[in-house]
């Protein structure tokens, strides 16, 4: 990445609260016009990082630059960023119109221009005619959209969103996810989005930074992050993952040969992983890549035997749990319920074979 691409530059930024390292020596760049997500469990530092971008927290060390301008001495009200807060922070003593127009006061527009912008904004968030309503008369979803409009109407270079969809119910949340994505595409502003919901991040983002304990674990696009996690923690955090520990005994073509103890020899593409010619590794495989059958499949796939003794019916798909000798956790297999009464859904335990194509596995270093 060259210097031109970087729109937001975060260099060796740390934030300490006393002895606690909320953000620990993080560096990465965000491109102009990206929808960039910070994903991680609570306490991983993502909100602190967002607040440092906004200017509400000052880094203990390190540097932040936005559009080439260093932010070290720039207070929040002078930054080219606007924020959508987790609880929306709608001003209760102002009506909707006054809320949306709040940040326009400094821009020296005529009254007419302000009116126009507010109406446009109301249209964009699909709440036309709500101008005179008071803030406390609105539902959570409506307030969230007003917070969005209020931030966007100021035309910031960067929009910061702090888990804005957290308080909404599932259907509304899914709707808003798509709407936000489309909105971002149409206005072209760089979005930095904080969430702990990995499905949300995967749906909306161009790139995702997975964080834990104040550090960045991996930054990638959704698909790459899902299919090629670079360590066990990321693999486990995003979606579900099965792990098989073993040791490398050699390579064949582009694949590593793993000795997985009682499970026999398994093959997995080496991919980006840096491994030696020998040593402990972990083979990771997604549940939906697995196939479950009564007999051992032939051919060049990986296959292990076990006992199916638990399953969960989720409507559109079913999860099957297979106990495999030598593995601590049961292997999870996810299959779409294509047939209306899938034959495996009869609740009886039985011996099965679980198999997958070699190229579906991911090689991870052992922890």
């Amino acid at each position: 990445m060259t210097a031109d691409d970087s729109f937001i530059s975060i260099k060796r930024v740390s934030k300490h609260f006393g002895a606690v390292k909320a953000v620990d020596d993080i560096s990465f760049d965000i491109r102009r016009g990206e929808f960039f997500s910070l994903l991680g469990p609570s306490g991983c530092g993502k909100t602190t990082l967002l607040r440092m971008l906004a200017g509400f927290e000052v880094p203990t060390s390190g540097e932040i630059m936005i559009d080439g301008q260093p932010m070290a001495v720039v207070p929040p009200h002078l930054r080219p960023t606007n924020m959508v807060f987790q609880n929306y922070a709608i001003f209760p003593h102002l009506n909707v119109r006054q809320n949306i127009a709040y940040g326009l006061r400094k821009k020296n527009l005529t009254k007419h221009q302000v009116e126009q912008k507010v109406e446009e904004a109301l249209g964009m968030i699909k709440l036309p005619g709500y101008g005179n309503r008071r803030a406390d008369q609105l539902s959570g979803g409506q307030r969230q959209r007003i917070a969005l409009a209020r931030a966007l109407v100021c035309q910031p270079k960067v929009l910061l969103l702090d888990e804005p969809l957290g308080a909404l119910d599932k259907k509304l949340r899914e709707e808003m996810q798509l709407e936000l994505r489309q909105l971002q595409r149409s206005v072209g502003i760089t979005f930095v989005f904080v969430t702990h919901d990995q499905e949300e991040a995967l749906t909306m983002s161009d790139r995702i930074a997975v964080m834990a304990r104040g550090k960045v674990l991996q930054i990638d696009g959704s698909a790459h992050l899902y299919e090629h996690p670079n360590c066990r923690e990321v693999a486990d955090f995003i979606g579900n993952m099965n792990f098989i520990d073993g040791t490398v005994t050699g390579t064949e073509g582009g694949n590593a040969v793993i000795d997985a103890g009682p499970l026999g020899k398994l093959r997995v593409p080496v991919g980006q992983a840096r491994i030696g010619t020998a040593g402990p590794v972990t083979l990771a495989i997604r549940p939906e890549k697995l196939r479950i059958e009564a007999t051992r499949p032939n051919g060049g796939t990986n296959a292990i035997a076990g006992r199916l003794n638990a399953q969960a019916y989720l409507g559109d798909r079913s999860h099957f749990y297979v106990e495999v000798p030598g593995l601590q956790r049961r292997v999870a297999v996810a299959a779409q319920n294509v047939a209306r009464n899938a034959e495996a859904n009869d609740g009886k335990a039985r011996d099965v074979w679980v198999s997958w194509p070699v190229e579906s596995g991911v090689l991870l270093p052992a922890d």
Binding site: A3, M65, C231, R274
Partner: protein, 322 residues
């Protein structure tokens, strides 16, 4: 983005050639940077006027008090040579027991008052927290408002209630219940305690109320679910959780009451005077300001000692329980 090295310690590569921005020189800029960087500096700046005023009005007078207590009053001027004479006089039980006796009596009266105030306030606070539904605002206002109005007048009101020709006596005589007015109502320590109990009531209700109100209702439901009767639940759950408010109320009433001056002077007569009256007379008619200062300091130390013992006893008890 290429992972730089194996495993999770991936740092994405940094833009090349970026330089730290040049900072213009100057102390002012450094100050502004520090101001921006350290939120606590801004906070302290904002706090400083109030803090300075309060410290000035508190610390300096207290220091003056301490200094004066080591001086002597010589007719109408002060001899500033440091001496322990005043303190020796106070603790001289053989010749001048009055100081310690009065202090002791004040403390006892204060403790009695505190006890009655808190005992009567607790059910009221409980009522407010648990029984009152929508009228809480009204009740709270009704209870706190009298407290904000003139202390002097409220004490005076008790004087006319308890007086020889006062409301109670004339009322009882009128009703034919007694022939002669009761003399024991006024101008004694009991009158002081009653008046103080009335005056400090609201001060005790509020902290207890706040403590009770904060109790998570689901804790009470859990206790009931696990088999407690309402009375058991009160003593096992509600009361312990209301202790912080109870302690606060006790301290808020006890400490100021010891030094009270207005009430004893209006309704205490000669048998009901407290240490505050003595201090006032030493600064007034008795014209011995250094001694007055010393007495005040001894009073404050006594209060502090009692409070520490009280808090210590509570702390140790809680530590033993956990």
């Amino acid at each position: 983005m290429k992972p730089d090295d194996a495993g999770c310690r991936v740092m994405v590569s940094v833009t090349e050639g970026a330089r730290a921005p040049a900072t213009p020189g100057g102390l002012w800029t450094a100050f502004k940077t520090a101001l921006h960087r350290y939120e606590s500096i801004r906070g302290y700046l904002l706090l400083s006027p109030t803090l300075l005023v309060m410290l000035g009005l508190m610390i300096i007078p207290l220091l003056g008090l301490v200094v004066l207590s080591f001086c002597t009053q010589v007719y109408f001027s002060i001899d500033y040579t440091p001496t322990l004479k005043n303190y020796l006089a106070i603790f001289d039980l053989a010749n001048n027991p009055i100081y310690l006796v009065l202090l002791f009596r004040s403390i006892v009266m204060s403790l009695t008052t505190t006890f009655f105030v808190v005992i009567t306030a607790y059910p009221m606070a409980y009522f407010l927290a648990f029984r009152v539904g929508r009228g809480k605002l009204v009740w709270l206002i009704l209870i706190t408002v009298p407290f904000w109005t003139s202390y002097l007048l409220r004490v005076f009101a008790w004087k006319i209630i308890l007086g020889y020709q006062g409301v109670i006596n004339s009322g009882l005589i009128n009703l034919g219940l007694i022939k002669e007015p009761l003399e024991f109502l006024l101008y004694n320590p009991t009158a002081v305690v009653i008046t103080l109990t009335h005056a400090w009531a609201a001060f005790a209700i509020l902290p207890i109320y706040v403590s009770l109100e904060k109790i998570d209702k689901s804790l009470l439901e859990a206790a009931t679910d696990l088999g407690d009767t309402p009375r058991e639940r009160f003593w096992r759950v509600t009361f312990p959780l209301s202790l912080p408010g109870l302690i606060a109320a006790t301290l808020l009433v006890f400490i100021p009451t010891v030094g009270d001056y207005v009430t004893p002077s209006l309704v205490g007569g000669t048998s009901g005077i407290m240490i505050g009256n003595l201090i006032q007379s030493l600064f007034g008619k008795a014209n011995n300001a250094p001694l007055g200062a010393a007495v005040s300091i001894v009073m404050m130390l006594a209060i502090t000692l009692i409070v520490c013992v009280f808090l210590g006893a509570i702390g140790r008890r809680r530590w033993k329980h956990s």
